[in-house]
């Protein structure tokens, strides 16, 4: 097996209506690591996963999973991977146990070995008590856990998790995070995680790639990406709508304050090497200009800031725009 568990090279995919879902996506995932594909809805994350899991085919490009060419030998790839799709694949008329048994049998498992494996998975995902209940009665969080258990039943080498926490309530999401962290510690398992929650990728993934409009705009470790931003984000809420000119003029000559932007005339964003030290000086300067300030926030750089830097849009805006499109 090669050192990389997943290799995507220049993947291009256009849908029948001419929508270009992927516009040359390339990345590599080291074996045994967690890799996060981050981006708003419609960025191309799911399409990438569908190609790598052999459900879909790209127009051009190459894909290798677990050392196998996914376009030439999809059957072999299918045996090596587990997949938790964005949409739950649980058969709601079957019980949790029956879902797991069927999946195991499709991979050629059977007999006592499969029974034991199913019991282990049910136990591990806290579904043992509900195992004989029809899954229609499961909560969203339980169904999602069952999805992951189904994806793991045959002990795959590579696991794909396509938005595993979307639509879950905060408690179920925290549960799922714990579970993924536990999986990540397992020997040799490679995980490709897609998410549109930046904090999720930040917490779970060793490396992330930010996807926007079918392209990867940045990739690296979360820390490396954030340190490229050089400094903390300072957000000030102004008391009244202000003209851009006066505010930026006031802040123009303060030490290391830079990248000053004003949103809607009332929200001021800036960057400083040391946010805590910059704030009093900034407040003083604004006071002197007669611009009252309502609130101040200083934040360590987040992946949201990374997204803003590379795409020129705030993440949430992009996400909303795609949803309402």
């Amino acid at each position: 097996m090669s050192e990389n568990a997943i290799r995507a090279q220049e993947l291009v995919k256009t849908f029948p209506k001419g929508v270009r879902a992927l516009d040359g996506v390339s990345f590599e995932v080291a074996a045994g690591s967690v890799f996060g594909l981050v981006g708003p809805n419609g960025a191309g994350k799911s399409t990438t996963v569908k190609i790598l899991t052999t459900l879909s085919r790209p127009d051009s490009g190459a894909a290798e999973v677990a050392g196998i060419d996914a376009l030439r030998h999809p059957d072999k790839v299918r045996r090596a991977i587990g997949c938790v799709a964005q949409k739950s694949g649980v058969d709601v008329q079957a019980t949790g146990r029956e879902n797991l048994l069927l999946q195991g049998r499709l991979y050629g498992m059977g007999g006592g070995e499969l029974e034991r494996r199913v019991d282990t998975m049910l136990e591990r995902f806290g579904l043992a008590d509900a195992a004989r209940r029809v899954t229609r009665t499961y909560s969203g969080g339980m169904q999602r856990k069952l999805d992951v258990a189904i994806g793991l039943i045959h002990s795959p080498r590579v696991l794909f998790l396509d938005e595993p926490t979307t639509g879950l309530d905060p408690e179920a999401r925290a549960d799922m995070w714990t579970e993924i962290e536990r999986l990540a510690g397992e020997e040799g398992l490679t995980i490709l995680l897609t998410t549109h929650y930046l904090e999720e990728a930040d917490r779970l993934a060793a490396r992330v790639a930010i996807v926007d409009r079918g392209r990867i705009v940045a990739q690296g470790t979360p820390d490396a990406l954030k340190s490229e931003l050089h400094g903390d984000a300072v957000h000030l809420e102004l008391d009244a709508a202000e003209t851009n000119g006066r505010v930026t003029a006031a802040l123009a000559h303060i030490g290391d304050v830079r990248d000053v932007t004003v949103e809607d005339g009332r929200l001021l964003h800036a960057r400083a090497d040391n946010g805590a030290r910059a704030v009093p000086v900034m407040l003083q300067a604004l006071e002197a200009q007669g611009v009252p300030v309502v609130s101040v926030t200083v934040a360590r750089p987040s992946l949201d800031d990374v997204y803003l830097k590379y795409t020129g849009r705030r993440f949430e805006e992009a996400d909303r725009a795609e949803v309402t499109r």
Binding site: F15, P16, K50, T53, T54, L55, S56, R57, D75, R78, R79, I81, C83, A85, K87, S88, G89, V90, D91, V92, Q93, A94, E98, L102, Q103, R105, L106, Y107, G108, V134, I150
Partner: protein
């Protein structure tokens, strides 16, 4: 043989899910009974038309109702495919090393079981209300086989349509548009030589009519009567071609996701 094993697993899933909906089970078994009694009463006097060679309309109608039930059961098969598509179950099966043919056959074989039970009920009821079948159990067996073959073919087409169009409305429209004419352009309700010539011409190429002709001849005159074998063979070809076409539809589906 992976395809065969997968077909068994998926068949078990279908049958189990079917039995979990008791009302649906009762209704799908009761429906043909209602048709048999309703059509039987409505067209009772048809046997008095000069040239009609059977003297009991129930005897004549029974194989028609069996084939009709089997054909429509096959037609609605695509609804289950759409349900699996909407629920993500189809993608899950496709991403696993599931035999593509088994995904299709796993939907179709449960219907053969339904047809078996339906046929027993319909023929049993027909006997109670005065139907007489000289073909005996062997004739009934032929009726079951041809109904199953027709149902497999129609179900495969329905599943293919479901994979390509992915909307329940499309399947409903396709079923009504295709199957009702096939039924009325056959000898299900009326002896063929009493129908207009153009219907007789069309019926020669109508799979529903192949099944009705073979099934009725076998049930009324015996399994080895002439016309049984040839029509059964046509149906075998029909079922194989349709299953192959439906399996091809997966490629088209996977290109579009």
């Amino acid at each position: 043989m992976t395809a065969l094993r997968h077909t068994v697993f998926l068949t078990i899933r279908q049958v189990r899910n079917f039995l979990r909906q008791p009302w649906y089970v009762v209704l799908s078994l009761a429906q043909p009974i209602i048709y048999l009694l309703l059509f039987g009463a409505l067209f009772k006097k048809v046997v008095e038309i000069p040239g009609f060679t059977t003297n009991s309309y129930i005897t004549f109608l029974t194989p028609g109702i069996v084939v009709m039930s089997a054909m429509f059961a096959g037609g609605w098969s695509g609804m289950g495919v759409i349900d699996d598509l909407n629920r993500g179950v189809m993608d899950r099966l496709l991403v696993a090393p599931t035999s593509r043919g088994a995904i299709m056959l796993g939907r179709v074989t449960p219907q053969v079981l339904t047809i078996l039970i339906q046929t027993a009920i319909i023929v049993g009821l027909a006997l109670l209300v005065g139907g007489r079948f000289a073909g005996g159990p062997a004739g009934a067996a032929v009726l079951i086989v041809v109904s199953a073959l027709l149902s497999i073919g129609v179900a495969s087409l329905s599943n293919g349509v479901a994979l390509l169009l992915r909307k329940e409305e499309s399947v409903i429209a396709a079923v009504n548009l295709m199957l009702l004419p096939l039924l009325f352009l056959s000898s299900a309700f009326l002896q063929q030589n009493l129908a207009p010539q153009w219907i007789q011409d069309f019926a020669r190429y109508n799979p529903a009519n192949w099944a009705i002709t073979a099934g009725r001849t076998a049930l009324m005159n015996g399994a080895s009567s002439s016309g049984v074998m040839s029509n059964t063979l046509y149906l075998v070809v029909f079922a194989v071609v349709c299953t192959w076409l439906a399996t091809r539809a997966f490629r088209s589906y996977q290109r579009s996701v």
